[in-house]
């Protein structure tokens, strides 16, 4: 898959995973497992990118005597999800253009 497209897709996926409530790394990976396999290293890169862009904030919460990082979506992050939905409509219409011959032949 095109690298830019994939990056946008992964960003939106991770934001969607923390949209309803704050979540932590392992939970995000588990939530996404039915849809796509995400390695820990890849997730770290995405979370870092989103944090730098101000789309999420991080806070450490004590859990069972150790610290666990929870990720909280910001207003900007929610906006990114909406943007993604709009972008996707565009991609869908491009997809229909690309496959129009196939549809006609069926």
């Amino acid at each position: 898959m095109d690298i830019q497209l994939k990056r946008g897709l992964l960003d939106a996926c991770v934001l969607a995973a923390i949209k309803d409530e704050d979540s932590y790394g392992y939970q995000i990976i588990k939530d996404m497992k039915p849809y796509l396999e995400l390695s820990e290293s890849t997730l770290y890169t995405i979370l870092k990118r989103l944090e730098t862009a101000g789309m999420l904030t991080v806070k450490s919460v004590e859990h069972e005597g150790r610290l666990r990082k929870y990720y909280h979506i910001t207003r900007q992050g929610l906006g990114r999800i909406e943007e993604f939905k709009e972008d996707w409509k565009e991609i869908e219409s491009i997809y229909r253009f690309i496959t129009r011959e196939d549809a006609r032949n069926e």
């Binding site: 932590y24 790394g25 392992y26 939970q27 390695s39 820990e40 290293s41 890849t42 770290y44 890169t45 870092k48 069972e64 150790r66 610290l67 666990r68 990082k69």
Partner: protein, 198 residues
């Protein structure tokens, strides 16, 4: 491998990176392993699921820009003594050109690699151009009333076109290899900044 061994191995392989980056990564992977274990996965398996230390390290290296690695490497671990600063300044006519030379050597490696790629594409392009020229010659020979010359031109044109088409696949293959090699070289250069010191 248990969690402690994995993390200390990773820490060793990352030495040379900015300290805060190392701590952040280590605590991230530590949390991941703890969460897996809490989920009922045995320790060995939880660690194995993260991937090998080398694979994790390679991915981290790919994430961190080369400039940051170099900056971290040249930053002194302690404040310099007066005589060291004097030496540095006095020695600058010597070490600055050496540094520039080192950068130039690395840069020229990339240039050489890509010059090869560009030149083979140039060969392919010239074959295609020669084919077109040969086809054009057919008409010139016909006009001059020389059928043998026209046949010769047609034959030469077809040979050139065939070679150009075949050679194009070789070019594409080599270009792909060059892209991969460039990536590997960059990773190699980055690696030379990390994990060498205890």
């Amino acid at each position: 491998m248990n969690k402690e061994a994995f993390l200390s191995e990773l820490r060793k392989k990352l030495s040379g990176l900015p300290q805060e980056d190392i701590e952040e990564r280590i605590s991230f992977y530590s949390e991941m392993i703890d969460d897996r274990m809490e989920d009922g996965i045995p320790e060995e398996e939880a660690v194995a699921g993260i991937g090998s230390v080398d694979a994790v390290r390679d991915q981290i290296m790919a994430d961190i820009p080369l400039a940051k690695l170099v900056k971290e490497k040249v930053r002194p671990k302690r404040s310099l003594k007066a005589w060291e600063i004097v030496l540095l300044v006095l020695g600058s006519p010597l070490w600055i050109p050496l540094l520039i030379a080192a950068v130039a050597v690395i840069f020229s490696l990339f240039i050489v690699l890509w010059a090869v790629v560009i030149s083979i594409f140039a060969v392919d392009f010239s074959l295609a151009a020669a084919a077109l020229a040969c086809f054009a010659c057919i008409f010139v020979y016909l006009y001059a009333g020389n059928p043998a010359g026209a046949v010769f031109s047609a034959g030469a044109g077809i040979v050139c076109a065939g070679l150009a088409i075949l050679f194009f696949f070789v070019c594409a293959w080599i270009a792909k290899g060059a892209v991969k090699l460039t990536g590997r070289m960059l990773l190699g250069i980055k690696s030379s900044f990390v994990g060498k010191e205890e």
